[in-house]
């Protein structure tokens, strides 16, 4: 049936709307019959909530998994990864192998993290082991660098110890919930500046896991030179790479936005460090993305109406080891951006956070429980093009041929529509290759040069490990 796809969104962003319109799709409201709903994280909660949720029919697709917060909330992500590691260890899987000091050989990709206030005592124990270390405090429910600060003394976080309630994550006191992680104070510096990597990953299904990596990720640089000196611990321009923070810096440049493409990074590293170590670094990055998805796959509600595009934030340290920082979902409005118009979404009225608001005035909208996330806002012209193409390629994969979706399809798009995406991991394909592959390939072990590297559509699927 060649009806036109009917779309709804509660996010007024041109990169989205232009993509819908160019496919000839028809805009409708959420009360009408729709096929495709690009929704904010608030809305997804309503759609799938026990009280108000509704059943989606076979020709309806949404852009979030119901409990995506298992991955996108900082504390839950860490919890899931820890659980996954323990499970592997119990099974005796070689992936969970540890070295002499008890560190996981292949699964040590998240900095040591604790939840506060719940794990306060555990944290103190760890802190005392290396008292000169720096830790980073991040509020669970916020994004774009808001509320983050660094500490190097226990006294700076005393107030979390006084809270004796061990609350569950879904109640009121989550507004005080923080994660505290060991700060990576030896990041790889280029031009003396700290940067992080933002990579986009599309997941079409969790079981079997099928995910795609967008080839055009980027690096975000700080405008100020990095220094680990304790006197600059408060200077967020040195430490936080979020564009939302950096763009208020004196030296922020609106032409390039402090961003580099991942290809530039690759060229630079290959030229200055060599091809092997660079290849190894990128293999490891792919590895940690896939492992993190595998970690949440068992708990993720693999609703067939869903797909999701995540933005992975990764930091590389000066030993060329990648660390997973967090996985926000790029979908919300960025407060204060000139092209953003506030749309009220069908969600319960939100109370503004204490201490939040600041220079953004009343236009900001934050969320109690779920990460407000990095945005579809474009800070530069290049950015706009990137986000437009990202949405375009995402839609091509999620909604094949731009036709009315049918959730019964096998979610296996043909190679040609991938655009700038590449298959990162396809569990079905991987399993079909035989179980003996599992032991052969590990990140860091030398594979054939084409074995596990991200390559064009003409080559084999990315990974050979399970």
């Amino acid at each position: 049936m060649a009806g036109k796809v009917k779309w709804v969104t509660d996010i007024e962003k041109s990169v989205l709307i232009n993509n819908f319109e160019k496919r000839g799709w028809v805009q409708v409201t959420e009360n009408e019959d729709w096929n495709f709903y690009w929704m904010s994280v608030q809305t997804i909660r309503n759609v799938f909530s026990v009280e108000t949720g509704y059943r989606l029919s076979d020709d309806q697709i949404v852009n979030h998994f119901p409990n995506h917060y298992e991955l996108t909330r900082k504390d839950l992500m860490v919890k899931n990864i820890k659980r996954y590691r323990k499970e592997l260890e119990k099974e005796g899987s070689p992936l969970a192998e540890k070295d002499e000091s008890g560190k996981y050989l292949y699964l040590d990709f998240v900095p040591v993290t604790y939840m506060l206030p719940a794990d306060y005592n555990l944290f103190v124990e760890e802190f005392r082991k290396s008292p000169s270390s720096t830790w980073i405090m991040k509020p669970c429910g916020k994004a774009q660098g808001k509320g983050i600060f660094l500490i190097n003394k226990l006294s700076q976080i005393k107030k979390w110890s006084r809270d004796s309630k061990t609350s569950s994550f879904m109640t009121q006191s989550t507004k005080e919930a923080y994660v505290i992680s060991l700060y990576i104070n030896n990041p790889l510096l280029i031009g003396g500046r700290k940067f992080d990597l933002r990579l986009y990953v599309l997941v079409s299904t969790y079981r079997p896991l099928r995910c795609y990596m967008y080839k055009l990720g980027f690096c975000r640089f700080c405008t100020v030179k990095y220094t680990p000196s304790t006197s600059e611990l408060d200077n967020m321009f040195v430490h936080l790479t979020n564009v939302a923070i950096q763009k208020h810096g004196e030296d922020y440049n609106h032409i390039h936005g402090g961003k580099w493409t991942v290809n530039n990074l690759r060229l630079y590293l290959e030229s200055t460090r060599g091809k092997e170590v660079t290849g190894k670094l990128f293999d490891e990055i792919h590895w940690i993305i896939v492992q993190s998805l595998k970690a949440v796959a068992p708990v993720m509600n693999n609703d067939k109406h869903c797909f999701e595009c995540y933005g992975y934030d990764i930091i590389i340290d000066d030993k060329l080891k990648p660390w997973l920082i967090e996985v926000p979902v790029p979908c919300d409005l960025a407060p204060g951006h000139p092209t953003a118009s506030l749309r009220s979404c069908p969600a319960p009225t939100l109370r503004p956070q204490a201490g939040v608001g600041g220079d953004e005035g009343g236009r900001m909208r934050t969320d109690d429980q779920v990460n407000a996330s990095p945005s579809l806002t474009s800070s530069t012209a290049n950015d706009r093009i990137l986000k437009y193409n990202l949405i375009n390629d995402t839609l091509n994969i999620a909604v094949p041929n731009g036709e009315i979706p049918d959730c019964k399809w096998n979610k296996s798009p043909p190679r040609e529509v991938l655009g700038n995406y590449e298959i990162l991991y396809d569990e079905e394909l991987a399993q079909g290759d035989g179980a003996d592959r599992e032991l052969r390939s590990r990140p860091g072990q030398s594979l054939g040069p084409k074995g596990s590297r991200l390559r064009d559509a003409g080559r084999t699927v990315l990974t050979t490990w399970k």
């Binding site: 031009g191 580099w260 530039n264 060229l267 290959e270 030229s271 200055t272 003409g458």
Partner: protein, 513 residues
């Protein structure tokens, strides 16, 4: 026969003369003395034994590389009676044009100086010196007020000068014929035609593998890439400059490029070189030059806004500020048609004893100058090495892009080559563009002057510069410029204005190689 022999001995004598003053000579001498300890060196056959020792220990190779380097850089001596100006530039009218262009630049610089009442140079007070030393690694932040400074000149100003170049001995008549050159350059220099270019660039032929094309993901690496990389590693192990130069004509693997370029340019980082760089740094700290502000302004206007190079902003200051104080650069003026500007100590105008070269390296930066350095930051992150590589690239190649000369790699010849190629092989396009007031050279000039830096994606730019090094010639820039027009010919035929033509070619940055 006799002439050739005497030419050869002249060349040998010159090179020996040059090398005698170099570091390498001192090292060889030391090595020779030290080798006397070795058991295989016998007094009876001292000369042969030492020669043999040098061969085995790799010193002969170093000497070979040094000789090769000299041959590549210095033009061969011509007629023994030729005055030194001939080495700079044999044609009188070119020399004259360069001279008057220099006068204009200097005038512009001096008037800026007077307007702003800033001295050309001054010693920094101690407090300021300390501050600068602290800020050495982040000079990009907190810059001085540069709003009153303007670049001394921009490429388009230079283009106007080139357009007006005329050979007073050349009469081509007023009548138009099919031989009439349609382009902007109206001087009769000899440029290569396609058959000659094909021969010159034989390694770039369709049947030879190239990096950047034949190592793309669609091509199995066994066909070309693997072997090429293996040869590259071998070349590096042998440390042979000439072999490296030959090898790089097919492009350099990214991981080997930094070393290969250093080998070809004969740069090795000895403690003396690092010390020299530190000395230059001290000069920067102690004295402030007017050109420093010009450099600052240029970096802020160009590299800081470039999405490939903004990361390296601070390196650019560290290199360029030192460069302008490096008097060793003055030696390249022996074969550069340009001459370093002279300045006089205050109050002593005209008195030769009080003349100094200004800036100390004799090179006045123009708008876009910092883009010569920027791509190198992708290869070298050690400031003194980065500095050495840049300096050598400048005195071998880049200086030709902004001085008026008849050299085949000089900008005048490149422009003429570009226009001739276009007119010969795409006459319809050339005519059309000319008719709509979009002379092709007006679009491609800035690409060539900057050696495409900032106009090509870095990985492609480095592949292009590989070929500049490999062929020891800048002609590839003109060929590439013409190729871009050929590539865009269909679109260009449809445009109706210069602005549209510019836009059409702007996609160069993402265009195919």
């Amino acid at each position: 026969m006799l002439q050739e022999e005497s030419d050869l001995s002249l060349i040998i004598a010159q090179i020996v003369q040059k090398l005698k003053g170099s570091n390498l000579y001192a090292q060889l001498e030391r090595q020779a003395w030290a080798s006397l300890q070795r058991p295989e060196i016998k007094l009876e056959s001292l000369k042969e034994d030492i020669k043999e020792f040098f061969k085995i220990s790799g010193w002969e190779k170093k000497l070979q590389n040094a000789v090769y380097s000299e041959l590549s850089v210095f033009p061969l001596p011509s007629h023994p009676a030729a005055p030194p100006e001939h080495l700079k530039e044999p044609l009188v009218y070119m020399r004259k044009a360069q001279g008057s262009w220099e006068k204009r630049i200097l005038k512009s610089l001096n008037s800026m100086c007077t307007e702003l009442s800033i001295p050309l140079a001054r010693k920094r007070p101690v407090g300021e010196q300390k501050e600068l030393l602290n800020k050495w690694n982040e000079m990009g932040t907190d810059e001085p007020d540069l709003s009153l400074f303007r670049p001394v000149y921009a490429p388009k100003d230079f283009l106007e000068v080139l357009i007006n170049l005329r050979n007073p001995n050349y009469e081509n008549g007023d009548s138009l014929s099919f031989r009439t050159h349609l382009g902007l350059i109206q001087v009769p220099l000899k440029v290569k035609d396609i058959p000659e270019l094909k021969e010159f660039f034989v390694e770039l032929g369709l049947t030879t593998g190239q990096l950047g094309i034949d190592d793309s993901t669609q091509v199995p690496p066994e066909l070309f890439e693997n072997e090429h990389v293996r040869i590259g590693q071998k070349v590096l192990t042998e440390q042979d400059s000439a072999a490296a130069q030959q090898y790089i004509r097919q492009g350099s693997p990214t991981a080997l490029r930094a070393e290969l370029w250093a080998l070809i340019l004969n740069i090795s980082s000895h403690p003396e070189d690092i010390l020299y760089y530190e000395q230059l740094k001290t000069n920067v700290i102690q004295h402030d030059l007017l050109v420093d502000s010009l450099i600052y302004k240029d970096v802020k206007l160009t590299a800081s806004n470039d999405d490939y190079y903004f990361v390296f902003e601070d390196y650019l200051y560290q290199v360029l500020l030192c460069f302008s104080r490096d008097t060793s650069v003055l030696s390249h003026f022996a074969y550069n048609s340009a001459s370093p500007p002279k300045s006089y100590i205050r109050g002593k105008l005209g008195l030769e004893e009080y003349a100094v070269f200004y800036p100390p390296n004799g090179v006045i930066p123009f708008h876009g100058f910092s883009m010569y350095v920027a791509p190198l930051c992708f290869l070298y992150h050690e400031p003194s090495k980065l500095y050495q590589i840049f300096r050598e690239m400048y005195v071998r190649f880049f200086f030709r892009l902004h001085s008026i000369s008849s050299h085949p790699s000089g900008i005048v010849s490149l422009c003429l080559l570009f226009e001739t190629l276009l007119q010969t092989y795409l006459p319809q396009l050339f005519y059309h563009l000319r008719e709509i007031g979009a002379q092709p050279l007006r679009i491609s000039f800035k690409w060539m002057v900057r050696a495409f830096s900032g106009y090509l994606a870095t990985d492609q730019l480095l592949l292009l510069w590989d070929r500049i090094l490999g062929y020891n010639s800048l002609e590839i820039l003109a060929v590439l410029a013409a190729a871009v027009f050929a590539f865009r010919a269909v679109n260009l035929m449809e445009v109706t204005s210069l602005a549209a033509a510019e836009k059409c070619n702007f996609i160069l940055k993402i265009a195919a190689y």
